[in-house]
Symmetry: C2
Subunit: 309 residues, 2 copies
């Protein structure tokens, strides 16, 4: 509810995907009673009615505190109670973060959840966090994001993930008071911490985790999206270049899917891209099923405990 796409469109797209999955997967749609009128879901889909809707324009914290019967609040509570194993939403990002923050326990030694997304590079994908949960992150939050990122990449079988702190220069003293303090705190990760990095270093593929506050991380993610569209436009105009751009376009539209993990809380919470298009939802669902099948939450908790930072 609350995203730019009509719930019935999303529901139909999800039903198409769900029908391809084994019956061991059960699904719940959280939505207003009237928005799925006429829908005939298969038996493995349950509909959980919500009487309130959190809008994109709502103040996140106020909305989550007051609209207890919204689809978001009901779903987060059911995740907490173990009635569902994972939650996917394309709602107001701030509200999703606020609900995860308020209702779900944090993982060991983590104070604040971060939005974690994977981006492709010249080698394997890099995990970037935070891409928008906490715009004014403090130094200790940044160090915690490093631990989450390390645990996440270890759970993806990268033995010694290399972590960079996004900054405006590579020298130790660069940046703000928070990045300078975070640089010191991140020494505890020893050889896994490679120091300050710049936006241009992110895509070489030599870094596994990029740590940044939610403001700069969001700028990075959305600039990447904007530049990719711009370059495709330039290529189309360039008479010296020919060929089929579909494959390239698909690879570059990564900012849209599979979405971002709300990392650092006890629960699998996936933020689908804001427009909540049927495609974006399907990709988020596929990514979530992969996290579940890999027992992601248990692995990241184990890795965080081993880090004992």
């Amino acid at each position: 509810m609350g995203c730019e796409t009509q719930p019935i469109e999303i529901a139909n797209a999800i039903i198409g995907l769900v029908n391809e999955l084994p019956d061991t997967y059960q699904f719940t749609f959280f939505c207003s009673s009237d928005c799925l009128e006429g829908l005939k879901p298969p038996s493995k889909i349950t509909i959980q009615e919500a009487s309130e809707v959190i809008l994109m324009s709502d103040d996140p914290l106020v909305a989550v505190r007051r609209k207890k019967d919204s689809s978001l609040c009901i779903a987060t509570q059911m995740l907490k109670n173990g009635q569902i194993d994972a939650l996917i939403s394309a709602c107001n990002t701030g509200a999703l973060i606020a609900a995860a923050n308020l209702f779900l326990p944090k993982l060991p030694d983590i104070d604040r959840p971060a939005l974690l997304t994977l981006m492709p590079t010249m080698k394997h994908a890099v995990a970037i966090l935070d891409v928008g949960a906490n715009p004014g992150a403090k130094a200790d939050h940044l160090a915690q994001y490093a631990a989450i990122g390390i645990a996440y990449q270890k759970s993806r079988d990268i033995e010694l993930p290399k972590v960079g702190l996004l900054n405006i220069g590579s020298e130790e003293g660069k940046g703000t008071a928070e990045t300078r303090e975070a640089y010191k705190l991140m020494q505890q990760f020893q050889s896994m911490f490679i120091g300050n990095i710049e936006g241009r270093d992110v895509f070489h593929g030599d870094i596994d985790v990029v740590v940044t506050d939610g403001f700069a991380g969001n700028v990075l993610l959305k600039t990447a999206e904007g530049i990719a569209s711009y370059i495709l436009y330039e290529i189309e105009k360039d008479s010296g270049i020919s060929g089929n751009l579909d494959s390239l376009r698909k690879r570059l539209h990564y900012a849209e899917y599979p979405g971002a993990i709300v990392a650092g809380v006890e629960g699998i919470v996936m933020k689908c891209h804001g427009d909540g298009s049927p495609t974006a939802f399907r990709e988020s669902l596929k990514a979530t099923i992969q996290l579940l099948s890999q027992d992601f939450l248990a692995r990241i908790k184990k890795e965080l405990e081993l880090l004992a930072f």
Copy 2:
């Protein structure tokens, strides 16, 4: 001095360009006495010796205060005194900003200089500031950057420049305390202020000025550079795309030249890209000559006075 390229290499590249220019242009090289040994400059080039060098690793403020006989400090003082009309440097960016801040008067109503750079978009170029001068900008600095950006684009004959505040969402309440306050302050620019924008909006070409703090602006600039390299790599690998990428590559390497203007001070100060390659220096010189021939400083001052913000 102090950049990654040997001064003699830069000098030779500049001499090549200078020889093509009319004799009304006079040039001064600021450098250590030994670094241009054997160079035979034409008569319109003077060499001004400096006994100290500010290194990339130096603390900017300390270096500028203590190394008074560095090429940077001597040149900035000569700019202040009207002995030169413009200054180009590829030195330690922080030191260049600090020297401009300490030695040059500010433009009317401006407290802090910003690094302003132009980036290409689907339409005409967008001015982005700050891309790294002031990582922890306050709300009033951001409003001042808007005024500088408006004045700059007006001096480039854009009648009513459209200004966007870089943020993590388009709604008014988004972002940090500083962006929320800046949003209010920027209302004074009336219809020229179009509100919050995201990284993906920068490249459509519908915005003339992007206002942001030096941290996020630097991330934007360098991410654009990193993504451009990555996409060129993907295109080269893509068997479905063929052609000559030289023209595209040249257009996308905008992060390297013509550099960034240290805007907001009484003087034309151009920051050449950090690697200070001969190509980057030549492009910075060409851009600086254009600013001089357009009487840039007088125009931006006049526009700032008309804004009377």
